[in-house]
Assembly symmetry: C2
Homo-oligomer: 241 residues x 2
DNA sequence: CGTTGCCTTGAGGTGCGTCAAGTAATGTGG
DNA sequence: CCACATTACTTGACGCACCTCAAGGCAACG
């Protein structure tokens, strides 16, 4: 039995599902694979006929830029459909990489297609989830364009906490976060050196500590205040479909 | 008769449509409205039950940030479905504003829903188009995070030319572009003053001129070179659905 | 014909990048 | 279990791309 409970949690907390829909989702996964850390699982530009469900671990969407720099467009946690957009785009505009060891299940597009034919509401729900990605991208584009480094780091910590709580992967106000400071910089458009300085300042202000691949938020209200965090872009409670 | 030719062009150049599909799309628009420049047509957070097709003019998706700054997440040209994502998100995470005078047609979500039921391929095609938005956001987030101002401006000009060519709204290598330098800054995460300096440098290098609400590209290969422009993120020729 | 919005340019400041060097943590083969 | 390499973290000094502040020009318009 494939463990897609995190995914069901993620979906159903936003859109309650009936038993038939849940059964249909459960039957999606094809093969399950375990991938070591720091591997590129899906390469930019390669056409694909399946999408990938992340069962455990952390992955990222990584763009290599023309000038040799790198940008992570999104971080993914257990329960995320990391490349559902390949259902319509076929080839992706970025790589998908593991950060730590990951379990992932592949879902053939053909199965999605027949599921959507049988359950049109699920089609809209999964469409919603790719639109959620877009909303997330918009938020981060704006943040990177207009917010100082401290705010960006604080925002990322707040977002990750909210997303991990949704799938029960936080413990109090702390959570696993298997990124290096360089990775953090690639997410936020900063150099690792400056990330280091920002982390130091968060530590000194007793707001949050990032150490040993874990984030511990010491003062959540304070951190939210620094980030001016408004989680509405995460659409944790959408209008009904 | 509503003029949605630009939209049909935009869709069909990526995915050839058969006559029944074209007829279905033609019957989507409800009322048509003409909006003056610089009006907010759709407000952030307000729930909506229709989407909007831009028939003529330029609009933008504008995010107002917590610190009073502003970011344009995307520019829209004739033929774009500017808020198709509201079909699944209901409330948007940004405002939608006109830049110049615009004609727009509203499309009730109920009509979309019944069209998608009858033509499942169209559902995938329109889903593709919202995923296209996401790819565009990713591209710009990366560019803003990692590219210098000159590259960003050059890239935007290259992108707009490609998108306007698609719907036959360019003339040679020049096109209407009803933005102020402040708007350009809000798109690219720059101050209007710095935008001005970049434009001056593009002008002096005989690469492009932006004047009187028009962009004239003098040296397209040169500009593409500055931008290191690779239009694959625009998915002008996707794999078949 | 004053007001307003947009463009333009200069002078000076700063947040973050670059360069450099050293320290810790982690892994690897003998 | 130790040499040793490698990768990640940390901190300081310095530079620059871009921001801020300021002032003036020009065109559109009521």
């Amino acid at each position: 039995m494939v463990d897609i409970e995190a995914h069901l949690l993620r979906v159903s907390k936003r859109h309650p599902l009936d038993p038939a829909e849940i059964a249909a989702i459960r039957s999606l996964p094809d093969e399950v694979r375990t991938i070591p850390p720091r591997k590129t699982v899906i390469h930019e530009g390669v056409s694909t006929n399946h999408s990938t469900l992340l069962l455990s671990g952390f992955m990222c969407r990584s763009k290599s830029l023309a000038n040799g720099k790198r940008h992570m467009a999104e971080l993914h946690v257990a329960g995320d459909f990391i490349d559902l957009h390949s259902f319509t785009l076929k080839r992706l505009d970025h790589d998908i990489e593991t950060l730590n060891a990951c379990q992932m299940a592949s879902v053939p597009h053909a199965r999605l297609r027949s599921m959507f034919a049988e359950f049109p509401r699920l089609a809209r729900i999964y469409w919603f989830h790719t639109n959620l990605d877009a909303a997330n991208h918009r938020y981060w584009a704006s943040s990177i364009a207009q917010m100082p480094a401290l705010v960006r780091v604080a925002t990322l910590f707040c977002e990750m906490l909210a997303r991990l709580e949704l799938v029960s992967l936080s413990r109090g106000n702390s959570f696993d976060f298997p990124l290096t400071q360089t990775d953090l910089g690639d997410c936020l458009g900063l150099t690792p050196i400056h990330v280091n300085r920002v982390l130091k300042s968060l530590r000194e202000d007793r707001l949050a500590v990032f150490r040993n691949k874990r984030v511990e938020i010491l003062d959540l209200p304070g951190l939210r205040d620094v980030a001016q965090f408004d989680p509405s872009y995460l659409y944790l409670r959408p209008d009904p479909l």
